[in-house]
Symmetry: C2
Subunit: 367 residues, 2 copies
Amino acid sequence: MQDAFSVIYHVRSTPKEIAGRAEAIALEQSVELPRAAVRDPHIVENILARVESIAPLGDNLFEVAIRLARVTTGDEPAQLLNMLFGNTSLQEDVLLVDVVMPDEMLSAFVGPRFGVTGLRALLGAEARALTCTALKPQGLSSAQLADLCRVFARAGIDLIKDDHGLANQSFSPFAERVARCQAAVEQVNAETGRRCCYVPNLIGSPRQIADQVRICRELGVRVVMVEPMLVGMALMHELAADNSGMAILAHPAFGGALRIAPELLFGKIFRLFGADAVIYPNYGGRFSYSQQTCKTLAENLRRPWGEVKAAFPVPAGGMQVDRVQEMLDVYGRDVILLIGGSLYMAGDALLERSRAFVENVQKGFVA
Amino acid sequence: MQDAFSVIYHVRSTPKEIAGRAEAIALEQSVELPRAAVRDPHIVENILARVESIAPLGDNLFEVAIRLARVTTGDEPAQLLNMLFGNTSLQEDVLLVDVVMPDEMLSAFVGPRFGVTGLRALLGAEARALTCTALKPQGLSSAQLADLCRVFARAGIDLIKDDHGLANQSFSPFAERVARCQAAVEQVNAETGRRCCYVPNLIGSPRQIADQVRICRELGVRVVMVEPMLVGMALMHELAADNSGMAILAHPAFGGALRIAPELLFGKIFRLFGADAVIYPNYGGRFSYSQQTCKTLAENLRRPWGEVKAAFPVPAGGMQVDRVQEMLDVYGRDVILLIGGSLYMAGDALLERSRAFVENVQKGFVA
């Protein structure tokens, strides 16, 4: 097989059965037929997936590498996912762990348009870690959300994003909310000379999102958020491919397909499909990922990978202002720190605590 | 809270902690803030989710019902999923089990355009179970796939669908493949007087799929397949809302988010968002669902549900011709039986075994 790539699974099996199980996965993820039903020699040679290696991991767990033909993916995001885990995702004994593609295959996908360097330039923050917060809760009016924007922009938070629960609801319709919030942040930027960005949440059907993109561009929005698991990873890839001049912040909502390793789904796949920054549940917060999972995920977003630009990790979920130094120690400076609820807990001191957040990040880097 | 709906989760917890855990889920899935940070009485009254009930299921497992405000969903598919399981999908102790919506909320979504009755009329099969097979393996040329179409159409298989692995690859590009396969089936129909349908697989980004839809309509295709977990459930809903004259067959690829109960994801959500027929892994085949799961899933697709039309269950995955009677016994006649590999195992006797499949279904109903 020429022009192939490797997919890594963890498979629960007895030692006696693993060889057969691995062959079954190779069949399922390529021809989806019993081996005996594949009779065309061209298919056997060029399409049929091969078991590349099987390594015991102990405790009836094995690492299985399967070699797939690139031609089966059509160099298209949805079909790539299909080849990685289409049917096998439905088999309980298999975890999709990793994918290893040659650089010339990577270059068929758009990757982050801005990436770390581009987002830093956009925000005028060349060296330090960036800051991010969320507008919440849903149910507030657009005017109330714009008021929050003013507070956060005055505090100097780089990215002021919609809560992922803000869609096109009656209490803050998309067009109205984005116009007011964008104007609020621009107004404060004009006063402070900063480059804080409001980040609207794009959500809906493809045509609805196309309308939302148009509204954002007309209003001068520079960063948008999407939930690829809700709106489609190929939609995000198309948005990135359009080169709209807006960076993309990806949110993990609905990504609870735990049998896809988060290091892969959020660390590699979201990046490859065009996310400039990827939100994920940080360790020690409301979610269950380990510190090691989070570090690997962040490394996957940033390390050299063919021609694919590095993307920002955005650890989130129950983070607090007094953990900023810890986050910087763990993630370094190429990180976007996202804190939401902990700021709101300050009540009337929202501005002050938001400023403390910003300052902790700045001080953190002096240390 | 007026105009609300209920979401059911299974939560692993100790009896001591379950009340707090349930409250945390209600917060996560609505305001995404600590309770103390929610100060606006309007939000508390109208937006904040409520714990409706907690019932022990034994063994440190609880059924938790959460009441959500409909207004938070914007009556839009992606945002509905977000409200059901956006962030909570990332918490390992929670399984999304069910959703209960009032009929007037259901009517905000399009549901199947054809449904059981419409598909029966389309296929000229008023009373019997329907048949379906798949064109495989990927790697065959469009001409070879069209040859297979002729065989299956001659056998009288109602729905001859693309393998879910057929996309827009170089070996059988979409436009060429669909034109040839559609012509092949139409030609045989003209000879036999039957109404077999070729079912192309739509996959790609939103604009690529829009192109594919246009091609299908121009060629007179009447049924298409989509993988909602790969291309986006809101895209499928939009396709259904467009009322294109083509029925939708939904495929579960990439749907391995096991912490969404398959009875819900495939049985209710896919139906609500417009699938006229839903493929799922049958018990006793290559996948791991129990017979009870499959029966409930099928029932969910078909039972009365507000104004939402019934959809066809399409049990699949390692089914065999000699299990047809069993499938009819289990599912009744409102079912599409999908058999692929077992037909191909017949080798040169493909036509005969395909005919046997069709005949077993017909005989099955005489019995």
